[in-house]
Amino acid sequence: MAEADEPETAETTDERETTMSRAMVSAIASEMRDSDDVFVMGEDVADYGGIFDSTDGLLDEFGREKIMDVPISETGFIGAAVGAAQAGMRPIAELMFADFFGVGMDQIYNQMAKNTYMSGSTVNVPMVLMTAVGGTYNDAAQHSQTLYGTFAHLPGMKVVVPSTAADAKGLMHTAIRDDDPVVYMFHKRLMGIGWMPAPDGPKTSVPEDDYTIDFGEADVKREGDDVTVVTLGLHVHRALEAAADLTGEIDVEVIDLRTLVPLDTETVLESVRKTGRLVVIDEDYHSFGLSGEIIARATEGALADLSAVRRVTMPDAPIPYARPLEQAVNPGREDIIEAVQAVTE
């Protein structure tokens, strides 16, 4: 892992901390300096710098030819990214909110994701589709979904979900260099935007130099012997808070999946074999999705070791607007604590 060799302690440190959005931007900028094939297309990515700061400052350095504001035509510009990628370029297309995938979905799942296979690998699609996900700020049903499971379910695209600045940078480098389409899903609440304060955790020190993080490597954020908590995105930080609260009572291991396709099943199994208890925390809908998948893999691979499973997810309902309603549906620290306690009873 990238942070492994970071100098801890010592009185003076060179490690400055940075936000997730700045880490993403630094990776994109660095790849753009190295290759003329990399460019960005999206709504409000130029002067605005991305509604969630994902392209902040890039216009100044690279200009409008490379940082392209495009019409509100998701089918058009995501499809154009597919075509440019097939022509050998490395476009980064931004879908402003993952919730808007509906108006451009054919280009995503029938073209971007399938052209490699359907062409018998005579074509490849080295593009990044980056998109903002998640709720917690009362933006209601059309602007708050994560849809992790939807994207990960459809074959042919790699899916990554960073939860810290250090991961955001390394995963972005890997995503841009990857020869396959990568869906890069960043949680709005983690970006470190002034108007949407992040929890403690996503802002980390980040090495200055470029580095990649291999896809398919989950990160054990906290080791523990009693219960395995598997999660991703915003809920990595909520799970760590819950685990800290349970210190002395229950020893919780927290696994950040980081990438869904490919999925690091082995790290999950290893942990479950040790703890025997699995709790999956997911900000996506309950049924037919990520939480069910993780539990299925755990039962397929470590059934004999499992004594209890539980999942805490969004319900199978659209996401409501009003504050008490959204708080009710989005898994919070207390919900995680209760689930962890329940599997140890």
Partner: protein, 348 residues
């Protein structure tokens, strides 16, 4: 000719809408200063205000009654007010209250008032196809009601809009598409994203009448919309209308508008459709007392609605799980968090 009653009614909607947005801005910023935290305060989430766009709402809705359908995009308040949406319950919805139009589930971008056939969507151009559907239903049932789909000039490059134009045209449906051209789609000026200056030219490709009103004069909008809606009611098909309006505020509250050239907002503020309307009223011989009275009553109505809304109860957390289906299948559960799951068929 526009009657004095209609003029006064349009003016009333316009000043109601303007004052409404100004008051909502105040309420929205409550709890968001000095730190602008989007999830804080009595109105959380995004808020897109329509100050400067009132003429496009008033001039069109003057021709509509409750049976006619209107769909509005993410910037809906002025249109909702002119369509006759219940102001108190709409405000309660924006404050996330249980007695709101949508029980606190929708919020300001997703207002639904079936009593006056008003519906919203936050997805760009996606209100257009349902408006076509409302017109289709009216036609099939032999009713003379029409449907109006509102959209911004940024939405005219979206498939949902273009497909709707074609469908409405080929089926000869009673639809009016109204483009509110406020020059901006968030930070993107329209010349960056389309090569046509006049959005109503999109109609040409669908063999549909298209018209642009170049200035936000509610009366000019009234004339153009009257013709289009008359045509639609008579069974002569759809029309595309574009109205130049002005964005007096940021795209959403919290938008620092760093991308907007100096002077552009000032220019937008100088073109004031409400002042223009006042001049029109005066020219029509309506005295200043009457005008002042309409304004005062409109402001009072807004203040009352906001006061009422803020007094309303918040929804109970468990209400989040209601309303997924009109007719929930037997045994179905929304799979709530463990402590709320009472029935079987859920977790574990």
């Amino acid at each position: 000719m526009i009657s004095d009653t209609e003029l006064q009614e349009m003016y009333g909607w316009m000043v109601t809408a303007r004052y409404y947005e100004e008051r909502l801005q105040e309420e929205y910023l409550e709890g968001k200063q000095p730190a602008f935290d989007i999830s804080a305060g009595p109105i959380p989430g995004e808020l897109h205000l329509a100050a400067g766009q009132e003429a496009a709402a008033a001039g069109v809705c003057s021709h509509l009654d409750d049976a006619d359908t209107v769909t509005a995009p993410h910037r809906p308040h002025h249109v909702a007010i002119a369509k006759g949406v219940d102001l108190e319950r709409m405000t309660a919805e924006i404050f996330g209250r249980r007695t709101g139009l949508c029980k606190g589930k929708g919020g300001h971008m997703h207002l639904f008032d079936s009593a006056v056939n008003f519906a919203g969507s936050g997805i760009i151009a996606e209100g257009c196809p349902p408006a076509v559907g409302a017109a289709l239903a009216a036609k099939k049932r032999g009713e003379d009601s029409v449907a109006v789909a509102y959209l911004g000039e940024g939405a005219i490059s979206q498939g949902g809009f273009l497909e709707s134009l074609n469908l409405a045209s080929v089926q000869n449906l009673p639809v009016l598409f109204v483009i509110e051209d406020n020059d901006w789609a968030i930070s993107m000026p329209k010349e960056r994203v389309t090569d046509i200056r006049n959005g109503s030219q999109r109609a040409d490709g669908f063999d549909m009448p298209g018209k642009r009103v170049d200035y936000d004069d509610a009366c000019a909008v009234y004339e153009a919309a009257g013709e289009a809606i008359g045509r639609a009611r008579d069974g002569n098909g759809p029309t595309l209308l574009e109205v130049q309006v002005h964005r007096r505020m940021g795209h959403f509250m919290g938008d620092a508008e760093g991308y907007r050239p100096e002077g552009d907002s000032e220019r937008a503020k100088r073109r004031d459709s409400i002042e223009r309307m006042e001049t029109t009223l005066q020219k029509a011989g309506i005295d200043d007392d009457t005008i002042g009275d309409i304004r005062d009553r409109s402001h009072q109505r807004v203040d009352d609605a906001i006061e009422w809304a803020k007094d309303q109860p918040e929804p109970e957390p468990d209400e989040a799980y209601d309303d997924v289906f009109t007719n929930p299948p037997a045994g179905w559960t929304p799979n709530t968090k463990p402590e709320q799951a009472e029935s079987t068929g859920g977790d574990d």
